[in-house]
Amino acid sequence: MPVIEYIEAIRSAMKEEMERDSRVFVLGEDVGLKGGVFTTTKGLQEQFGELRALDTPLSESAIAGVAIGAAMAGLRPIAEMQYSDFMFPATNQIISEAAKIRYRSNNDWDCPVVIRAPIGGGVFGGLYHSQCPESVFFGTPGLKILAPATAYDAKGLLISAIRDPDPVLFFEHKKCYRLISDEVPEGEYTVPIGKSRVMREGDDITVIGYSLPLHFAMEAAAELAREEGVEAHILDLRTLQPLDREGILEAASRTGKVLIVHEDNKTGGIGAEVAAIIAEELLYDLDAPIRRLCGPDVPAMPINPPGEKHFMLNKEKLKTAMLELARY
């Protein structure tokens, strides 16, 4: 299987779905002629024309709102938010509208829109080009939320998102775009929404997370196995809404020691819900308190390099936390 970059996986998912289904189109700031500020949509306007790879005015609420309207009209829009930090002007359209269209109309109308947004830091983007917005949308029923860590999942999940009959937020980690490459089949495939994936098997500790930090966990796990004989079991949630309850409980019970990890800040993050699920189902199977290793409860990361480094998770921080848990 060819090894491709995470960003290429996303690009090809859009391209192939646009070839397959004339209802699919992309819209957003700079997604057309320029091909996106990260080049995620590069080539789409050449291939599909301006109407299907549309440069919009600088207005996120309209990008989301127009996409929602077009989705209700029967199209399959993929709206890009240039940075997830800039999707907050669209919150009302996402939470009040997209999430509630099916429910409020008693299934008469639906809203199959995909909203893509690059999340996360580590790129010297400073406060407003580094945030993780998951917690803002996570508590809203009616939305689905995806956050792939690998190229394989990025492509397979994005295809699933485009074909999904409900609104999907697709959070791609901008640091993964070129850092992460893995095997991706040539042909069409999908990754099911709502299913987590075991990235690594182990019997000593369980790490549950999503997106970029899982790669730090994998590196740390390899070192811990070699250096300390500690075998970590690592679960990639992949879908944040709906969470894969069974997958979480299975992974947690496997070792009885759980470390939850994400880059979004700790308080009110996805990790709280994962911990709560485990605490309400598996209390007696745990051999250690449930730990969370997350971004600090600080508005956003500084742009200066020591500040950013201090803020971000990395292999060392993961390794320390994992070893501590193993030794508990």
Partner: protein, 344 residues
Amino acid sequence: MTQTGAVRQQSRHAALGLTDRQVIEMYETMMRARRFDERCLLLQRAGKVNFHISGIGQEPSQVAMAFAMDFEKDWFLPYYRDYAFVLTVGMTLKELFLSLFAKAEDPNSAGRQMPGHFGCKRLRIVTGSSPVTTQVPHAVGFAYAAKLRGESSVAYVSFGEGSSNQGDFHEGCNFAGVHKLPVIFVCENNGYAISVPLSKQTAGRISDRAIGYGFPGVRVDGNDPLEVYRVMKEAHERALNGEGPTLIEVMSYRLSPHSTSDNDLAYRTKEEVEAHRKNDGIPAFRNYLTEAGLWNEERENELQARIRKELDEAQAYAERAPFQSVEDAFRYVYAEEPSSGEGR
């Protein structure tokens, strides 16, 4: 109307291409909406329903606008006072009462949403919500879909003058302007946003905002349905010709309190309301029809009796109808069956 002499001037409505039958239907629909609305107010005062939000005073323009649309091809995104509009495009009184009583059979939301929150795919009425103005970008999305598919379809979207101060108005209008999309933005300016009068909502004219988006804005007297029809028809043609959007500001006055929860005398006087009641477009339109020889007292009496009967039957049906069962109350958060994902 019989036109006997060649010198006889063409009537206003004929000049607009409206038949006698059509103007009569327009009148009947305004009246049906008015009587329905009054009944709702009554039912709320009688404690039979918790809430009603009234469109009284805005019916003539709403009917006229709907008459300018194509019920087979266009898309409708009406706001919560548009009873007369949705009645014109085909919603029935029974359906409106089912919504008022929040019953399972209500096509708008199965009694989940407040009354006045329209939505009915069968009638091409797009589901709406309470947060104002969110529907404006949606309408632009429908218009964009029409353009992308090469369909001859126009999106109608309405909202109040207060609501035109939301960011979504600006963003939606501007987007449609850039892409010359087939959408008609209708601001139903009834002078108040709950208690806040127009003068505290904006220092400009809503219709003038179109200038900044590069398309025409028109202000029209909402009590003159024929003029409203003319303006809408023109906007509809512009849209179909690929000339882009139009913003229409329909001037009216909100004769009822904001909703049944509102005590409007906290911020306006009875006298002000009574003064505006004199401009009510419905009796004026009846006069027009009478002068045109199309209407008389007998027909009026027949109509009132007919509407009363319709209302009684529809209300009785809706009152008796069941609520959505609690087993179904939490359904449709997501699709129950995954779609095939088939392209076309």
